[in-house]
């Protein structure tokens, strides 16, 4: 059982690595030419391709790349000629902090708010929460980001407009610069999750076991806490997993707006430079992240819902 899950995980990784590698070689633009720019000569391009190793057979290049990944060596950038391992880890850390904080604040807002909206679905305040979450979903996070910068950084001058300071260097500065991008990401994520929590709770409240629980004398809150949440958690967990991966990938735009040195902005720069090693490594990391989150969600499912364990 576990072996099958792991085998599927590994096969997916292998297929993804081949697809990423080949697709990148198919797009136009020779890395050596891009590096040398408008003043390049053909001899110079050939010499650089030789130095970079981009003129070797694809199989050799692929095996070298994958072999490196397996040993924790992400390779050498075609643009900067530097080992990208420390840089990618640095950038990944920044993206994870940003998205992790945004996900936690989203959940902290969405779970209580969604429950509130579900329990008061036919009251004005419940409808208001539900309506507000619709608006939140409709606003793209980059637009929210630009508006936040305009109001709170440019007009009011309360916080810096952009940039990033690592928490271990200056916690105050870190929080100051974290707040706007987190709000921009959270606004949308919290709105989406609120809707899922609300509908999951609404569905659960109509179920037989809730009525049974109520008939034993439990209040609505008690019944929800004891029986409802665990059942409502399944769809919410699925959506949280999906949202987390889309958050990491989607943070590219927010990182651009707020000049945050995460994986997303590095990916964009590397694509423009045809730094194929860096691009394929970052995309591969995102694939690993996505597959891992799915794996974790899968396992968490089994923990929350004993029925899945038994049927398996």
């Amino acid at each position: 059982m576990i072996l099958r899950v792991i085998a599927r995980f590994l096969v997916s990784l292998f297929l993804a690595s081949v697809a990423i590698f080949l697709l990148l070689r198919a797009i136009p633009g020779d890395p050596a030419r891009v590096a040398l720019g408008v003043t390049a000569t053909d001899e110079a391009v050939a010499a650089l391709a030789e130095q970079l190793g981009t003129n070797r057979p694809l199989v050799v290049q692929y095996l070298e790349w994958v072999g490196g990944l397996l040993t924790g060596d992400f390779g050498v950038s075609l643009a900067s000629r530097q080992d990208i391992t420390p840089l990618v880890l640095d950038r990944a850390q920044v993206s994870l902090i940003l998205c992790g904080v945004a996900m936690i604040t989203s959940l902290l807002i969405a779970v209580p708010l969604g429950m509130w909206a579900a329990r008061r679905a036919d009251r004005p305040d419940g409808v208001a929460v539900s309506g507000a979450s619709q608006i939140g979903i409709a606003i793209p996070s980059f637009l929210a980001g630009i508006l936040l910068v305009t109001v709170f950084a440019v007009q009011l001058g309360w916080v810096p407009a952009n940039g990033w300071i690592p928490p271990n260097e200056d916690v105050g500065g870190f929080l100051q610069r974290l707040i706007l991008p987190v709000i921009a990401l959270t606004a949308v994520q919290a709105a989406i999750l609120t809707r899922y929590v609300r509908s999951a709770i609404l569905e659960v409240m109509d179920r037989d076991f809730m009525r049974t629980a109520r008939s034993t004398g439990a209040s609505i809150s008690e019944a929800l806490w004891r029986h409802g949440l665990r059942n409502a958690a399944l769809p919410v967990l699925t959506v949280t997993g999906l949202q987390l991966t889309s958050l990491i990938v989607g943070a590219v735009v927010i990182e651009r707006v707020f000049l945050i040195p995460g994986l997303g902005s590095m990916l964009l720069d590397s694509v423009a430079r045809r730094d194929l090693t860096t691009v394929q490594t970052i995309v591969m990391l995102l694939v690993v992240f996505t597959l891992t989150v799915n794996l974790v969600v899968d396992v968490a499912y089994r923990l929350i819902d004993p029925r899945i364990r038994r049927s398996a």
Partner: protein, 488 residues
Amino acid sequence: MAVLLSAVLAACSAGHTASQVGRVAGEDALVVGTTGAPASLDFTTTGGAAIPQALMANVYEGLVRIDESGEIVPHLATSWEVSEDNTVYTFTLREGVTFSDGTPFDAATAAFSIDYVRDEWTNGLKSQMDVVAAAEAVDARTLRVTLERPSNRWLWSMGTLTGAMMSPTGVDQLATTPVGTGPYEVARFSVGESVSFTTRADYWGQPAHQDAAIRYFADATSAVNALRSGDIDLVWAMQAPELLDTLPEDVTVEVGTTNGEVIVSMNNDRAPFDDVRVRQAVAHAIDRDAVNQVVWEGLATDTGGAPVPPTDPWFTGEDHLPFDPERSRQLLADAAVDHPEITIAVPSLPYAQNISELVYSQLTDVGFEVNLTSVEFPAVWITEVMTLQDYDMSIMAHVEPRDIPALFGNPDYYLGYDNESVRADLLAADTAADPVPDMERAVATIMSEAGALTVFNQPNIVVSSPGVTGINPTVVTDALALAGMEKS
């Protein structure tokens, strides 16, 4: 989730050097913001303007320096003598100059630097050194360079990146740790984000006023926002003139000229632009003043259509190709091409896209059938337009100083301009005592044949916070010299 986050936080307090892009240098340092980040610090193997802009004059210096008026003045060489036939240069080198790694600068290291360009560089600009036959150290303070033929351009280029003096012990880590004789050394290079410099106490000349940094932005808006937040002190080469009206009262705006000629290129090898009349029709159809207004709100400088920056000695200011749609229609009629169909390969750069829309309507107006296609820059543009030369028309800023020979003296270049007499004039200008008359003649010929149209010389808009002095917005070489600027 919380576990993941705390693991991440633990990882970063464990001593990773995560990139910092708040204020990238201390409050006392001068931080300059600009666009176009370098991918590496090694211009020996990477082209483009970003690396020499950051390093020349700051980290690397040449035997000679190009001053603000474009004149060649002594620098690491205190003087030089030229042989009768103008082919042997004997430089007397400055004493007491050291590289930032401590090695002394002498004639041997100078000869090494010249040989290194010829043997090791892959940057296409290494061809500037092709004319050198030999470089040898006569004694510790005397360097003799023998040229294959006289060349004015060679001495001038020794004030640009190919003339950068490098130490034999300092070339293993060029991509991250450049070693030069300049007033600064690189303290930290954060790829895509910033380069920080510390001043050198052992610099041979007037030391820089303070530490400095250059920080790179994806667009002008975020750079200006960072200026407001106090993260940077100055925006260099600001690309969005429409933001100037929104700036706070106390900032200073200065505008200078650059070496960037924005060229509307026409593939001279291919119909319909293999007909000189069709090229002239294009040149007379485009209202350069309107283009300047749309793209730069009039802050750019008109060069009369010629690929000559206003700071070059052969700049005349003559309007070679005046806006005249009537004449343009007549030329098309003379060429007997009815509604020629052309495609503009527009690189994905904001200025090129703005220009292309105006050029589209103005060319359509005189009878061209124009198509626009967007081409990703740099990767796809360099492959399709520059290398394969599979294009009709394009738009591109050419920023290398004194690049007329590269653009119009080489028929294999993507412009496809091929004129024997222009090549003869360019060669004569290179060898003559006074290059100006020959250069003027070459430019006049190129313009009479409308080899390509320069729509404007790009302005350098510099926006600075109060207290920053010593800014010279006019760009003559490939360097952004930081040492002259001071922040109080």
